[in-house]
Symmetry: C2
Subunit: 323 residues, 2 copies
Amino acid sequence: MPIRTPATELLGIEIPIVLAPMDGVSGGELAVAVSRAGGLGMVGGGYGDAEWLTRQLDAVAGARVGCGFITWSLAQQPALLDLALERGPVAVMLSFGNPAPFAASIKACGASLLCQVQNREQAEHALDSGADVLVAQGSEAGGHGFGPRTTLTLVPEIADLLVRRGSDAVVLAAGGIADGRGLAAALTLGASGALVGSRFYAAAEALTTPQARERVVAATGADARRTTVYDVVRRRYWPAGHTISVLGNDFVSRWHGAEAELQQNLEAAAVDYWQGVRDRDYDIANVTVGQGAGLIGAVLPAADIVMGIASRADAILTRLANP
Amino acid sequence: MPIRTPATELLGIEIPIVLAPMDGVSGGELAVAVSRAGGLGMVGGGYGDAEWLTRQLDAVAGARVGCGFITWSLAQQPALLDLALERGPVAVMLSFGNPAPFAASIKACGASLLCQVQNREQAEHALDSGADVLVAQGSEAGGHGFGPRTTLTLVPEIADLLVRRGSDAVVLAAGGIADGRGLAAALTLGASGALVGSRFYAAAEALTTPQARERVVAATGADARRTTVYDVVRRRYWPAGHTISVLGNDFVSRWHGAEAELQQNLEAAAVDYWQGVRDRDYDIANVTVGQGAGLIGAVLPAADIVMGIASRADAILTRLANP
């Protein structure tokens, strides 16, 4: 069933669910599947592998999707944005960094500008930069994050900010939304929809391995850990204060809190890590999800996930309004 | 308007809002005001000052209220529980510690047993101990907390646990719920209501100072900090892993991250701290609230808070079900 909100109007979709542009996970096939089901698929431009991105955008084959980038990384290779904009994306999402230098070219192409924010200060800056959509992301989210704000309090605070500024921008809630209860909560909090990552990490079309997806299905929310060890071992130099939410495992237990020692043993640890990735050994390699993992009970096709979230949210809201 | 849920049935109330039994803040007058407005007031038994508790319970003067304790502290002076049970409380809430030794005497008096839990493991133990209500508290809460789980993911995960166990217990959401949006979200997530602290910290009847309440009104959610410095300076020996959410100020900036130095300078720091408390100087003294502070715009009587939350939640749910 359609659920109409200002975000569905703006993005031209039927269901207010946007696929998080997860680096290396949200490829063309997954993005198309989410869009075909009524949401908005977003290809994960991530750290900027031009060849990979081209292949995923080719796989989109004309479907209405968007594309997301890690802003500080995009600033190092801005040509990647042109590569995405050539395809006429519905939306471009920028996360973790200053969106201002890229806003004009994105909006000139007719794409909506989505800016991920983790606090009110970032939200103010994103609005000043021309954001059409603020993706208010709480600390329960999978992947990278910044600071302690949680979805439940950040979303209404950002919604109040928009009212105070008289802004036409809309809010999507991100972080911890993995089922219809979460989407319904996002709507009550003043969001116009949800950006969903972890739940789609365990979608059949995700560029994840069956072994990683099974880890997600088996996990509880308590298994999600925020750490920097996977950034250290992959030599990804994130700005201070950013952490990545992954499922706890032997590698995290070994190195979290011992990051200086990890730096000193980086070559050997990196050999182990990349071997773990090749072996699909998730006692070593990362499974990049958040606390919503505890709400994911099965690997499903993306269309079933979209429809399942929407129909459950609709049923919950109907039931609560008619006790 | 009444909002009926399994929690309102169980507790015999009209509106599924329970006052958090905040130590030194939730006195008899505030508890009575919340109960008279249709919610359930809870007197904060806190660390166990028998004289203070007696005075507050006297002020209740026969109204239907409950009482809450810090469990590890209650274990050191169990007679306080008898003091509360003599008054025939509607409910007794136990937070932070093992509820099992106290469950039988609480339930024998006809009081509902509320157990605050911060993760699934604690929830399992609380159910095994006979909890009637699980208060699922996220890290965005004010006051003491434990671990990284947030309200948005913890509540549905605990709700699923109850279904799996075939339990009759109900869930209240706690942490970050300060207005009708938060109560509506709690209900969509599978809770039967909300435990509300920070919003009532800024109630007219709270045992807080006007200066502290004004700090809450002026704060954003980003001002909430989790720290141990106020436990250290007050020589309250909390079990490892617990932190307290307060508004950031000079005292927190000075000592957070420098707890060992604070220990070495404890006598002088304690003199400063207690002088700050006497002077109502909240650059030094603690204002004990969570991220919901960013959603609190005015000091109000408790009845207006209860009614305001309920009517806004009702309006939101009605609007979302009838777009």
